[in-house]
């Protein structure tokens, strides 16, 4: 018996691709390749005596559902947001390091030494290391450049970068706070005494 409801392969394919295309993880080029795959598969199945509708159903079933494909495509089609977030973290981290470097000059600004008193040894040490505060942002910039240049982003999620930069920032903040704390207390005492 003839199939009365006319099956149109092109329409069925278009609808199937539209459904897949709703996923933001699957790009237009991926859809184009999947379409080419289904068409090849349909042609092959038809040579085995299946109707175009049967061939289409089997071919699309073999490709897999959107729910199955989406996470796999998501692994390779990283959104540009990953790169933007890397950039934002780099800017924030650099500004924070520069700010901490500025705070390190605070003891000297307070005319602490004008009174003839030497800065505490730890403060002197950290102030001496001040120029090295440029090193972490520099390394972070090199890492970001590597991430931006690499096309495949597997394992280069921004969360790891964020955690590392924040850990370094906390460590540098701690050093700076301890270094500045003693001179600040002494300065306050002087003010009160005056």
């Amino acid at each position: 018996m003839e199939n009365i409801s006319q099956f149109d392969l092109n329409t069925a394919l278009r609808l199937w691709l539209e459904r897949l295309g709703q996923s933001p993880q699957i790009k237009v080029e991926n859809l184009k390749e999947l379409e080419s795959h289904v068409r090849d598969s349909v042609v092959r199945l038809q040579t085995k005596g299946l109707s175009s509708e049967e061939s289409f159903l089997i071919a699309t079933h073999r490709v897999g559902s959107a729910a199955k494909l989406e996470p796999e495509f998501a692994k390779v089609n990283h959104s540009p947001w990953n790169m933007v977030i890397h950039g934002l973290i780099l800017i924030f981290f650099s500004i924070c390091c520069w700010f901490l470097w500025g705070i390190l000059h605070f003891p000297q600004m307070m005319a602490y030494t004008r009174e003839g008193r030497a800065l505490p040894a730890f403060t002197q040490f950290v102030v001496g290391c001040g120029s090295y505060f440029a090193l972490p942002p520099l390394l972070a910039a090199v890492y970001c450049a590597y991430v931006w240049m690499r096309r495949s982003l597997r394992g280069n999620s921004w969360t790891g970068f964020f955690a590392t930069t924040m850990a370094i920032l906390i460590f540098l903040t701690l050093l700076t706070m301890i270094a500045v704390f003693l001179p600040v207390i002494a300065f306050m005492n002087q003010l009160v005494a005056k």
């Binding site: 390749e33 080419s36 598969s41 092959r44 897999g64 390779v76 495949s152």
Partner: protein
């Protein structure tokens, strides 16, 4: 039928090996592996494409959209120099597993 994990682990060496015989496209790659394995290696066909794109990003293979004999456009994949190197490494690893298992099964036939 092969276990899911083994199918996933063998996808890259299988693709690389098929491509040593010349360029190919997604559907043909799947058919070739199905034939060679006697139907024991069954891929969820759509899953192959993300793997192919990852392999391309890693520089193992390269691709090109070209008009096929059907008149439609197809994406053809080709092996790169990096891919040959990767295949060499994969081959050594798979052969060492194969040799170890073969030796074990020969020495202790009861384990087969």
């Amino acid at each position: 039928m092969l276990a899911k994990e083994l199918v996933a682990a063998s996808t890259v060496p299988l693709v690389l090996s098929v491509l040593t015989q010349g360029e190919s496209y997604g559907y043909e790659l799947i058919q070739r592996v199905r034939e060679l394995s006697g139907g024991r290696i069954e891929w969820t066909e759509g899953m192959l494409y993300p793997v192919l794109h990852w392999m391309e990003d890693e520089g193992l293979i390269k691709s090109e959209w070209r008009e096929a004999e059907t008149g439609r456009e197809r994406k053809y994949y080709q092996l790169c120099k990096e891919g040959r190197k990767a295949l060499h490494d994969e081959k050594q690893q798979w052969m060492s597993v194969h040799e170890t298992l073969t030796k074990l099964w020969k020495t202790y036939p009861s384990s087969t």
